[in-house]
Symmetry: C2
Subunit: 239 residues, 2 copies
């Protein structure tokens, strides 16, 4: 293989939801880099990778990224990671960087990707798509995302109420990511708009503690989690 960085999306957490291509390229790489956060769930990528590598032949590097630190510290972590990865590729190694979900959709890989583009443009990067938590949550919740001419919006947690109201008016399906901090406000707005029946809350899809709440009114404070999303489907509201 040509020396390069391969970003492999390993899917939402179920080790079987990696693609054949992702599994093959991890198995063929000289070095496998696992980013590890300081949350318990962040070793999921490492667990998936452990089943795919040959420790006798492959080097595994676990890079720790503490979360909830200040932006400058995070940036320094990613700069160090980029430098380490770039040096490996420049020395002729093929490096697989594993990331939960899809590398190009709300992935922390994107920080590394930006720095490589800015500071190490000679490092070739290949991206292997992965199953995102959105597609996995839809399957787990038995909730189609969109059919034929449906319009779909994906919003991060930091939405304004007015913006969310407009998006709920304009789109057939709305996915709210990392909804735990604004869950109460979202539920009130959905109640006002008559969309409670169209909403489903999916917590930690593919991970330990996975749960689907078809009735968002039944979600208690302790059911909320950082890795959670809400799908609001107008088709589901009309069932």
């Amino acid at each position: 293989m040509n020396p390069r960085l391969i970003a492999v999306g390993v899917g939402p957490g179920d080790p079987e939801l990696i693609t054949l291509k992702g599994a093959r390229l991890i198995g063929e790489a000289d070095v496998v880099v696992c980013p590890i956060g300081d949350r318990s769930d962040s070793s999921v990528a490492a667990t998936i990778v452990d089943g795919l590598i040959d420790p006798a032949r492959q080097q595994v590097i676990r890079q720790v990224y503490p979360m909830r630190k200040d932006p400058a510290e995070m940036e320094a972590s990613w700069q160090a990671s980029a430098a380490e990865v770039a040096a490996l590729v420049q020395s002729g190694k093929t490096v697989a960087f594993v990331t939960i979900g899809d590398p190009f959709l709300y992935s922390t890989f994107l920080y590394l990707y930006r720095i490589l583009g800015e500071s190490y443009p000679d490092v070739a990067v290949q991206v292997v798509p992965g199953i995102s938590s959105i597609n996995a949550a839809a399957a787990a919740a038995d909730c189609p995302l969109g059919l034929a001419s449906d319009r779909i919006a994906i919003l991060p947690a930091t939405f304004e109420e007015e913006g969310l109201r407009q998006t709920l008016a304009d789109f057939d399906t709305v996915i709210l990511m990392k909804v735990h901090r604004v869950f109460g406000k979202v539920r009130s707005l959905l109640a006002e708009l008559g969309l409670v029946k169209g909403a489903v809350y999916v917590r930690r899809v593919g991970l330990e503690g996975e749960a689907v709440f078809n009735d968002i009114d039944a979600v208690a404070e302790e059911d909320l989690d950082y890795l959670s999303l809400v799908i609001i489907s107008k088709a589901r509201a009309e069932l």
Copy 2:
């Protein structure tokens, strides 16, 4: 395995972009159903499946769905398919139904799913998510879909110009599906809004004839295809 219908998303076309789980469940099923359209690309699912099944042990059913027919004919095709699938499951078989991309995202499987829910509620359905053409196109085009707090919209081809203008104002990334019929209008609007540099046209990702056009002004009439999309990324426009 319990008798059931398993909808397996096999990804955008590259046989390696199926998940390990999808490949395993196709291999374990009693019956594998491949929907085949009358377009040349629609046998992709069948090609992927051919590499996974054991014809000595498994039954393969190719269901033909001619496209571009009138809605009543299409509905009759799906009704017949649902009846056939339901009868197999009711007789104790586990049936894998393969579908390109993800079963819950703009998939024709959703027609079958609706009919099963309406007319055969006793048939258990399991959905195995697949890589959608959106994630695969982003990887092929080297174009991240969204980072951290980015807002993402996915629109089908049938958008109004004013609606598209508003969506382009409100969202960081916009994915226009099946854009071939409105390509000229889209290009004019993007030029007016200064977003041409942020747009990439991806044709037939994962299929024969795959192409990425980083300059949408270079897309000629003959480059357009039914299986095509445009990603418009404001982050890309600012690079």
